[in-house]
């Protein structure tokens, strides 16, 4: 999935809130510094949505979607390099999380400017697990658009900000229709890719369908997030196309077996608030 050459300058040159300007600068600098040292680092979460392409930022600013911290993902083999890099730039690792998560998650804070960084390793492990594998390096700064969207749609109890982020992504991107492959040169959400992933996991599928329903309740014109008429139309159309693609995808045997059990069995893994372990 290639980007226009002026993509990064377009993102970084637009006006934005001070806090976000600082975070964005830091995020981009860290990704670049990591690359120089042979470490693959990519931005995820809402910062990733803002940095992925120019369109979402202004809409998120208009919605008052403040940036709080930077979330990264790193391949397992680059953990040591990532930690070394961040500590060399003055970040202090959260020892509590270091012990509690045993190398599957890191958290850092800069004692001077207070920037908080969360680093996930290899995969995004929340209510459902999103593995990145080779796709981790498809975008120069963030993870691919599909995973950014899935990161929001996998949440079992979406908060207001999750709904905002998912809606903004759908409102600012085209989606490929069922059976279509996303054009290589355009930033189009590949619904087929998401559908194929969800056809393997009933639980993940169920959560995403529930959340799509939540973004645009069937039979109503209610707008959970005010992204303007054009944005709302696009988001609604995108959600529907995604839903159609998911429905059309043939499901695996494991998916069909799990479907028979339905909601009688918990279909997501519990995510706790981040409290200290010790």
């Amino acid at each position: 999935m290639s980007r226009p050459a002026n993509w990064l300058s377009e993102v970084t040159s637009r006006p934005m809130a001070d806090s976000w300007a600082q975070l964005q600068g830091e995020a981009v600098a860290l990704v670049a510094a990591a690359a120089e040292q042979g470490v693959t680092l990519r931005v995820v979460g809402s910062a990733g949505i803002r940095l992925h392409c120019p369109a979402p930022g202004p809409l998120m600013d208009r919605l008052g979607r403040a940036a709080k911290d930077i979330d990264f993902i790193v391949p397992q083999r680059h953990r040591k390099g990532m930690r070394k890099l961040l500590e060399s730039r003055g970040y202090v690792v959260d020892r509590d999380l270091l012990i509690a998560m045993e190398g599957t998650r890191y958290s850092f804070e800069h004692p001077e400017h207070g920037t908080e960084i969360d680093v996930f390793v290899e995969k995004l492990n929340f209510c459902h697990t999103i593995g990145l594998g080779e796709r981790l390096t498809m975008h120069p700064v963030t993870i691919p658009i599909e995973e950014l969207l899935l990161q929001k749609l996998q949440i079992i109890e979406m908060t207001t900000t999750d709904v905002m982020d998912a809606t903004v992504l759908l409102a600012t991107h085209e989606t490929s229709g069922p059976g279509e492959t996303a054009p290589a040169a355009a930033e189009v959400i590949d619904t087929g890719l998401i559908a194929r992933l969800l056809a393997r996991e009933w639980g993940f599928h169920h959560t995403v369908i529930r959340n799509l329903e939540r973004l645009h309740p069937a039979g109503t014109a209610a707008r959970p997030v005010d992204v303007g008429q054009a944005g709302d139309d696009q988001a609604r159309r995108g959600a529907q196309r995604l839903r159609d693609a998911i429905d059309a995808e043939p499901k695996t045997l494991a998916w069909r077996m799990r479907d028979k059990v339905g909601e009688h069995k918990q279909w997501w893994q519990d995510v706790d608030e981040r409290e200290a372990t010790y």
Binding site: A100, D162, R214, T277
Partner: protein
């Protein structure tokens, strides 16, 4: 975490998470297995059936087990309240340091750590004595293989217990170093093996009979059922009918393993949905293991006979070799004889070894968490909480735990440190936590009011202080029973000859106090006020 989003108007300061959530390692099942493993059904059955009928004639282990389990329900309720007030790893140290006094908490936690490492070593020793030696003894006896029988006696000697026990402890340490996820996975697999094995033994015992056991005993060991009893009686064994009083005196034996049912308090910060997990994990473990242990006592009486169990163990304990099996007649050996089948003997002994194993990494994991909590609060060196960049686990704390357990392995193998004497000390430490549960709503009113424990009521009675009060009384009674029972423990402090355990406890008390005073001054010189760590408000 949840909030419905139906309005199109987004107010400033929209609802969001403070930070990305965490998928913690331990599930409800992991907590349950952790606690059930720490009860160790294998150790409980072995102790009950070996020491009950032989040294406490008239005591019915099933009754004693149910009495101990009844008391432990209240202990579990009180610890459960603590675990939701402070959903942290670090065990009693966290509770006491935030509510009573950090210095007292550190010293108590240090003593608890030493005791639990002793029990980790004890379990490693039991795997050799009750598991491996019985394995060779039973299989050798059933297969009529003298070499295996001689191995059984060889490994049970001090050097065998020490070296094999040390190897087992090192393996447990290596498992913890490989990560908590892997540890929980291994425990899940072993739990399935242990439960299936126990179910097989239960079926064999349900189908078995006294006559079948008697004839199998003669054909495999050459012993005659009635002659074993006669030999014991000749050497002073006095069989007695069921006695509630003696069963009550014996309650301290099943209490030892049942104390493990609440030890998930030590890993509270690592479990998902702490309220549900700890409730089912603790109360569930007390109830489930209490019933299973009692069931096996009933089955043992049915197949082996109460008097025979007493007699054969009595003969072993008093050196009447003509009236007992070649290797000590632990439950596993008798069950192997009943099965009269090599494959079944292997299943029986593998099951018991698996059950005993659970104790070792779990006790070490608990002590490791305590050490890390000290380190984080700066009452211990930062190095204790060091996490390896290669394996991503706290290797220093795990290493200290491993070395500590090996030291105790030496004491157990070569110095025969008493069985239950340390429990007296543990009861004092945990008793303090129970008293703290009573005082918590009074001395830390604001903290209690903000905690979930405030809402835990049964018929309008607040659970935390009441369960704490009943548990404190229960522990006090158990302490007196232990103190007055020279078979199990006896007085910890003996003016004429202080036991090793007393010196160890006294040493930990003095050194722990001195350390805490010293480190507080040292940290102050560094400009660190360690008391700030103890001002923490529990989550709402």
């Amino acid at each position: 975490m949840a909030e419905s989003v139906t309005s199109s108007a987004m107010a400033p300061g929209v609802f969001s998470r403070k930070a990305s959530g965490l998928v913690r390692v331990g599930s409800t099942l992991d907590v349950f297995i952790f606690n059930v493993g720490l009860v160790s059904v294998g150790i409980a059955i072995a102790y009950n059936q070996y020491y009950g009928p032989s040294l406490y004639p008239g005591a019915q282990p099933w009754l004693s087990t149910l009495l101990a389990a009844a008391g432990m329900i209240f202990v579990a309720a009180a610890f459960y309240c603590w675990s939701v007030v402070f959903p942290r790893s670090g065990g009693v140290y966290v509770f006491l340091s935030r509510t009573i006094n950090p210095g007292v908490a550190f010293v108590m936690s240090l003593i608890e750590t030493i005791i639990l490492l002793y029990y980790a070593a004890l379990a490693a020793g039991l795997i050799v004595q009750v598991g491996l030696a019985s394995f060779f003894g039973a299989v050798g006896t059933v297969a009529k293989n003298a070499t295996l029988v001689s191995w059984g006696t060889t490994v049970a000697k001090p050097a065998g217990v020490f070296w094999i026990g040390t190897l087992i402890i090192v393996i447990a340490g290596a498992l913890l170093i490989s990560g908590t996820r892997r540890y929980f996975t291994v425990q899940r697999v072993l739990f399935v093996i242990a439960v299936v094995g126990l179910a097989v033994i239960a079926v064999v015992m349900l189908a078995g009979s006294r006559n079948g056991f008697s004839s199998s005993l003669t054909s495999t060991t050459g012993l005659h059922y009635n002659q074993v009893i006669a030999a014991a009686e000749k050497h002073g064994y006095a069989p007695a009918g069921t006695s509630f009083g003696t069963s009550w005196k014996f309650v301290i034996w099943p209490l030892l393993p049942l104390l493990g049912a609440v030890q998930s308090v030590g890993i509270g910060g690592e479990v998902k949905k702490v309220r549900r997990s700890q409730l089912l994990g603790m109360i569930g473990a007390v109830v489930a293991t209490g019933l299973v242990i009692a069931l096996f006592a009933v089955l043992s009486n049915k197949d082996f006979g109460y008097t025979f169990q007493g007699a054969v163990a009595y003969n072993a304990l008093t050196g009447v070799s003509s009236g007992t099996t070649a290797t000590a007649p632990w439950f596993a050996v008798l069950a192997g004889v009943l099965g009269h089948n090599i494959a079944l003997s292997v299943i029986v002994l593998a099951t018991f070894a698996a059950w005993i194993w659970f104790w070792i990494p779990a006790e070490m994991a608990y002590t490791t968490r305590s050490m890390i909590a000290w380190s984080f609060d700066r009452v211990a060196p930062n190095r204790l909480g060091y996490v390896s960049e290669n394996v991503h686990t706290p290797v220093v704390a795990i290493g200290v735990s491993t070395v500590g357990a090996v030291v105790f392995m030496w004491f157990i193998a070569f110095k025969a440190v008493a069985f239950l004497t340390f429990i007296e000390v543990l009861l004092v430490v945990w008793g303090a936590v129970m008293v703290a549960a009573v005082l918590f709503p009074i001395t830390r009113k604001t903290m209690y009011a903000a905690s979930p424990a405030k809402n835990f009521k049964l018929a309008g009675i607040p659970v935390m202080p009441v369960a704490g009060a009943i548990s404190a009384v229960f522990f006090a009674v158990m302490f007196v029973l232990l103190w007055r029972d020279p078979i199990a423990a006896g007085p910890l402090i003996h003016p004429s000859k202080m036991p090793v355990e007393a010196w160890i406890t006294l040493g930990a008390l003095v050194l722990g106090t001195a350390w805490y005073i010293g480190i507080r001054r040292y940290r102050r010189r560094q400009g660190i006020d360690i008391s700030l760590a103890f001002q923490q408000i529990p989550i709402e």
